[in-house]
Amino acid sequence: MNAMRTDTENLISGLVDELQPVRPLRFWRGLGLALAAMALTVIMVVTLGGVRPDLAAGRPDAMFLIASGLFLLLGLAAAVTVVVMGSPRVGNSHDGWRWAAAMAGLLPLAALLLALGDFHAAWIASEPEHGLLCTVYSLGLGLLTGAMLVLWLRRGAPTSPGYAGLLTGIAAGCAGVFAFSFACPFDSIMHIGLWHGLAVAVSAFAGWLIVPRLVRW
């Protein structure tokens, strides 16, 4: 009887023998983990680097609120999309984050438009001596959120690894920028648009380049 079994039936029998209980991926748990990673990153910045003077005084600057809010929204939108991508399903749409990206994209776009008038003045206004450090710190701070999302995707089954990688990079970059904003004292649109925007762009590129190799199945 056993000799008459097909290869597929033998495979099924082997898979049944191997079965171990698994914990299903649930959206709220994934989102909770992403939020926890972001919150932990902010706590690290505040604890180790302190907060900006205006925050410490309880009077946050309007530009800080707008810019960090936009990066937070984009980071959340990208993280939610990554979490959803872990559980594939025909009929899923992964386009919601684009609106948040368009809104956050206004920051570098505004900086670019203003720089067209006087490029040198814009460069000086961007605080170039501090800017690159802002970018590097933000990239480093995004690693925790990025690693958490990669682990989620590895447990899941993303059907578009490249797209998932890009969004993981965006979420990580935005989480890093958002957290570092609590310590970064510069509020000019040139600084935020160039150096903070650069961190998200670099992180997105790195995610697109690296993450697919880690999550392909």
Binding site: T8, D17, P24, L25, R89, S160
Partner: protein
């Protein structure tokens, strides 16, 4: 045999908790479903391989099914992913001629039409769908496909490449 969404979802939830009997039933049902699903869109000699690869993926990615969501759209996404991956791998191998007709597929339930591979194919430009169909499904060589479609050989290759890339990006599209 018609598969029932609610039964499959329940069996999967039980399998996630480690119920081997439920898992055996689930995999057998999925095997039948997958054979019908792939039959029209893969050369017959590759059908069993593709079904087995998809069952293996189901096994490895069992945790990615959320028991609160419908089951078949999840299985269809896994199946589409494996199908595109399978065709990409075939694309790198030498073309093989296929003798005989492809057996007619059983009538597909209307409820599953949105999940089907036909649906995915319908989003491709006609020239790309034709090139993939002739070479990857019917097993013609590039030269034969060029003659049959009226496209140049290089265009057939380009259309297969672009078509597969497009399919890979649309796996979850309804």
């Amino acid at each position: 045999m018609k598969t029932e969404e609610a039964t499959l979802a329940r069996l999967t939830a039980m399998a996630q908790r480690g119920d081997r009997q439920a898992y055996g039933m689930l995999l057998s049902e999925c095997q039948t479903w997958l054979k019908g699903y792939f039959r029209r869109r893969i050369a017959p000699q590759h059908l069993d391989d593709l079904v087995q690869e998809t069952l293996l993926s189901l096994h490895r990615k069992l945790a990615s099914y959320d028991p609160n969501r419908p089951f078949l759209p999840w299985l269809a996404a896994i199946a589409r992913y494996r199908w595109v991956d399978h065709m990409r791998r075939l694309y790198k191998e030498e073309d093989e001629a296929i003798d005989g007709d492809i057996p007619a597929a059983p009538e597909e339930p209307a409820i599953a039409a949105r999940l089907s591979l036909e649906r995915l194919f319908s989003y491709l430009p006609q020239a790309q769908a034709k090139a993939i169909e002739l070479v990857k499904v019917e097993g013609l060589s590039i030269r034969e496909a060029s003659r049959a479609s009226g496209q140049s050989e290089s265009l057939v290759k380009v259309n297969i490449h672009r078509g597969l890339r497009k399919l890979a990006a649309m796996i979850e599209k309804e």
